[in-house]
């Protein structure tokens, strides 16, 4: 008579054990940090902030931060740690600054489209943490499509930067177009306004006829993709760009 109950007990233990092992497998491994040979008082961005990449992808340039002392000169051998929302991968996630006081790290953004805040920190001699916050932009599918359309059609006039392969037409235009990152202007325009000006051209909003109508060339979903791209890259950030992902 006691055999079914003991079978039940075994079952219970098995369930408990598997639940336990599942919870154990989630534990995080402790990271071995290198020992700093020097300490700074400030950490500054050298390059690599405000980059744009696809979700999950590597940023085109590494993020480079520099540790300085009180006089503002670079400190070699200081420990820098990088943190961000789950899903962001740093290679390396920590390290000592090189002889020019800098640490470069390759960053892959997380899987969700939006802005990712990256925190680079170092400690000063009194073990106080000094932080630097950077933002990077991850494009989802729709924004990537918009980015492609921007390169093909819009960027030739709206992007003032020239490259060897492509000379910008920005300087040749009597009425200057707004670069798409110009949040101060573009954030004030509603999606409906942007759709109108893309579809029917500048005169639709009493603006220059130098902005042609694209409604017969771009589809409605193309226009939406472009707007989502414009919202994603605007600086200062647009409200439509969604939340900023920070470390928890």
């Amino acid at each position: 008579m006691n055999s079914p109950s003991s079978a039940n007990f075994i079952l219970c233990t098995a369930v408990l054990a598997s639940a336990l092992s599942a919870s154990c497998s989630r534990k995080s491994s402790s990271v071995q940090l290198p020992k700093p040979s020097a300490f700074g008082t400030a950490i500054v961005e050298s390059s690599g902030g405000k980059q744009i990449a696809q979700t999950g992808a590597l940023l085109p340039q590494p993020v480079v931060v520099q540790v300085n002392d009180e006089q503002g000169s670079a400190v070699a051998g200081a420990l820098v740690e990088l943190q961000a929302a789950p899903g962001v991968i740093f290679d390396p996630a920590n390290g000592l600054t090189d002889s020019s006081g800098q640490l470069a790290t390759n960053v892959s953004l997380g899987g969700m489209a939006g802005r990712y805040q990256i925190t680079a920190s170092t400690t000063d001699t009194s073990r106080k943490r000094v932080e630097l916050k950077l933002e990077e932009i991850a494009l989802g599918y729709q924004q990537t499509l918009g980015s492609h359309l921007n390169t093909q059609y819009c960027g030739r006039c709206h992007n003032p930067e020239s490259t060897v392969e492509r000379v910008s037409n920005y300087d040749n235009l009597e009425v200057k177009p707004h670069p798409f990152s110009e949040g101060d202007t573009l954030n004030k325009m509603s999606d409906a306004d942007l759709t109108a000006i893309i579809t029917y051209g500048g005169p639709a909003l009493n603006k220059s006829a130098l902005m042609p109508a694209w409604g017969n060339t771009l589809s409605k979903s193309d226009t939406q993709a472009l707007i989502s791209y414009i919202r994603a890259i605007s600086d200062p950030a647009s409200r439509a760009a969604g939340p900023v992902y920070t470390r928890n």
Binding site: S5, A22, T55, R156, D171, S208, A209, L210, S221
Partner: protein, 681 residues
């Protein structure tokens, strides 16, 4: 101890009523486990969390109405989808939750497909039927399919979409690299349409290599191709000194001489050292070939090989013969046959031969090869599969040299051997193999490539797309690629076009490169006389472009031959070139066209008609468009540019017939007089 146990046993089960009571309690407890497990389940926890989160939002009512408690499931038998992901990812379809930053409540980003029609695991992989976080996302002993990391997500799109999509740049790049670096020369990839993937690299034949290069250069190249040219396609085979010595010995011994490989020039190079550089510039060699400048930057295109150290590689007499006509050494060469005269060949070859690197061959000292070394070299050439890419006289192209990769994206991880410390997932394995192929076991022959981390990610994405699903998707979902046509023009003009390698830059009828304009309808668009003049002396139509059509020094007969063919054959049925006159428009129409050009349509934003006032740099300069294009083409083009050249960036303005006619009248009146006047001033 034993006594204690016995007394406990007596207490619990000593009399039958008590035993019944105890067993009932135990049963009740065990029966309660199932509902308790359900009650404390993860999905219920997340659904509670969701309800708590939406409670204080302004759109709480709408969200509440959309909410449906319990395990949710998307079941699509045709796709093999049983996805319960939406049990926890509750707000997936709620666009208004876009300000929420915490998972699992984020809405799904906008995509072209509907969730109910495709489910989740079709793109994201993972275990759709699982209802716990760990089982759904991670790979466990029982579940092999973890969630696909976001950086490889485009691989899932590639399972159905075989062609390139504008929204999948990573996948497109990966597929291009896979062909461009000749991976498919060794690894066969069968495509679902029954064909095999083709390589797009163009490895040279080695059957006459002794005409072209020295054994010392071959040795240095074999040891480290990137030391000669950092952009070299050939990977590093990590050969030992002896192996490189023997392979170079075999290749030289195996090489036969081609009669046209050395020429006697009747002229000396120009005495002015600047002439070589200017001839290199005028001939637009840099459109295809790159040279590394002093600052370390590559200047030039990547269609032909890098020329930074070409003087250390080629023999002078071979280079001269090549410059005279590349097709006598390699009939399939993608380089055009410039009709250089002897003096130009001498000047250009002197200029190129000066591009040397004294360090490259400084330490290479090879004794004369012994027959044993040559024989050993031949064996190595077979072992390393050199003939998979290169044509080598006497060596057959090996078949199935490397594992087939048609279904690599479905490979079970139990069949893989991982490196220590490597995460046990298929994407990590593939990326690791591309990064360090030889690390996986001694004796592997796959060479070392120099891919950047981003390139490795994109190659991995392309490889993951080759899987069971991609080979057998439901037919309704497969979106086939547009096959590359193998169009070849016929006759004398066709031969001339191959000789000039027009298709290396231009595209006609779906075949050819994309550096220069598509010429499929060139016969409808260009005026005959302009074409002849352009062939003889190509001017530039787009001042901002650094790549331009080179001058091929064509004879009158050749220019006319080509023009006749183009005007006759490359005709668009919708554009009758004789339907509109090239002159005779009324002044009123011309004036109206001018008003439309500068006013309503603001064409000066991209084009230049009056060089004094207009600055537009995007489209071609139109100062002489009346002598260049046919009126019928201008008319049809203004009405719908994409209909004539799909993908062209000029917007379709949906012009009325009257506007289009007036603009045509204005543009056709631009015969180039204005430019000459300004030039005089």
């Amino acid at each position: 101890m034993k006594q204690k146990l016995t007394s406990l046993w007596q207490k619990l089960f000593g009399d039958s009523v008590r035993a019944f009571g105890v067993i009932s309690v135990v049963f009740m407890f065990s029966i309660a486990i199932a509902p308790a497990k359900n009650h404390f389940s993860e999905w219920r926890h997340y659904q509670h969390g969701y309800l708590k989160m939406i409670r204080n939002r302004s759109d709480a009512n709408t969200l509440q109405r959309h909410f449906d408690s319990g395990i949710r499931q998307i079941w699509l038998p045709e796709l093999g989808v049983v996805d319960r992901c939406t049990s926890c990812h509750v707000g997936m379809k709620e666009a208004s939750l876009s300000d929420v930053s915490s998972q699992p409540f984020r809405p799904h980003p906008v995509i072209p497909h509907k969730l109910e029609q495709f489910g989740c695991t079709v793109c994201h992989r993972g275990q759709g039927a699982a209802t716990t976080v760990a089982e759904a996302h991670n790979s466990t002993l029982a579940w092999e399919q973890p969630i696909l990391p976001a950086k490889y997500i485009e691989s899932s799109w590639g399972e159905c979409h075989r062609g390139s999509l504008p929204g999948t740049p990573v996948l497109n790049q990966g597929r291009n690299l896979f062909s461009r670096y000749g991976c498919v020369n060794c690894h066969m990839v069968k495509l679902p349409n029954g064909t095999t993937m083709k390589a797009t690299d163009d490895p040279p034949s080695l059957s006459h290599i002794a005409d072209k290069s020295t054994r010392e250069w071959i040795y240095a190249w074999l040891k480290d191709p990137q030391a000669y040219a950092s952009t070299a396609t050939m990977p590093n085979f990590k050969l030992t000194d002896d192996d490189a010595r023997d392979i170079s010995a075999f290749l030289i011994a195996n090489s036969t001489t081609l009669p046209g490989d050395s020429v006697t020039l009747s002229a000396k190079p120009s005495s002015d050292p600047a002439t070589g550089a200017s001839l290199y510039g005028e001939s637009f060699c840099a459109s295809c070939h790159a040279v590394q400048n002093a600052a370390g930057n590559m200047v030039g295109g990547n269609i032909g090989p890098e020329l930074t150290k070409v003087g250390s590689k080629v023999k002078p007499e071979w280079l001269q013969a090549w410059l005279q006509n590349p097709h006598s050494y390699d009939p399939g060469a993608i380089m055009p046959h410039y009709r250089f005269n002897d003096s130009q060949v001498a000047t250009l070859s002197t200029f190129l031969l000066a591009k040397t690197d004294s360090d490259l061959l400084a330490n290479v000292h090879l004794e004369a090869a012994t027959p044993q070394q040559v024989a050993h070299g031949k064996r190595l050439v077979s072992d390393y599969g050199c003939a998979s890419c290169h044509e080598i006289a006497g060596i057959k192209k090996p078949e199935n040299f490397a594992p087939e990769l048609s279904r690599i994206g479905s490979k079970s991880i139990t069949q893989l051997i991982f490196l220590p410390g490597m995460p046990h997932t298929l994407p990590d394995y593939i990326a690791g193999k591309i990064k360090q192929p030889r690390a996986f076991s001694p004796g592997l022959r796959m060479p070392q490539y120099n891919f950047t981390p981003a390139q490795i990610d994109s190659l991995t994405t392309a490889l993951l797309a080759l899987n069971e699903h991609s080979t057998t998707p439901p037919p309704s979902l497969a979106v086939p690629a547009i096959p590359e046509s193998n169009y070849q023009p016929a006759g004398k003009a066709g031969k001339l076009m191959s000789d000039l390698a027009c298709f290396s830059c231009h595209r006609i009828n779906g075949h050819g490169g994309d550096m220069a304009p598509d010429l499929t309808w060139e016969g409808s668009s260009a005026q005959r006389e302009w074409l002849v003049q352009f062939f003889k002396n190509p001017g530039t139509l787009r001042p901002a472009l650094i790549r331009r059509m080179p001058r091929f020094n064509l004879t009158d007969a050749e220019a006319n031959e080509l023009t006749d063919y183009i005007v006759m054959v490359y005709q668009n049925p919708a554009v009758d070139r004789d339907s509109m006159p090239l002159s005779g428009y009324s002044q009123g129409e011309i004036e109206l066209g001018k008003e439309l050009f500068y006013g309503k349509y603001a064409c000066q934003g991209c084009h230049i008609v009056d060089t004094k006032t207009d600055k537009g740099y995007i489209g071609p300069t139109l100062t002489q468009v009346g002598s260049r294009l046919t009126a019928a083409w201008i008319y049809q083009w203004t009405k719908n540019p994409q209909a004539l050249r799909p993908g062209t960036i000029e917007p379709n303005r949906a012009m009325s017939d009257e506007d289009a006619r007036a603009l045509t009248a204005f543009l056709i009146s631009q015969k180039g007089g204005a430019t000459k006047e300004t030039a005089k001033k």
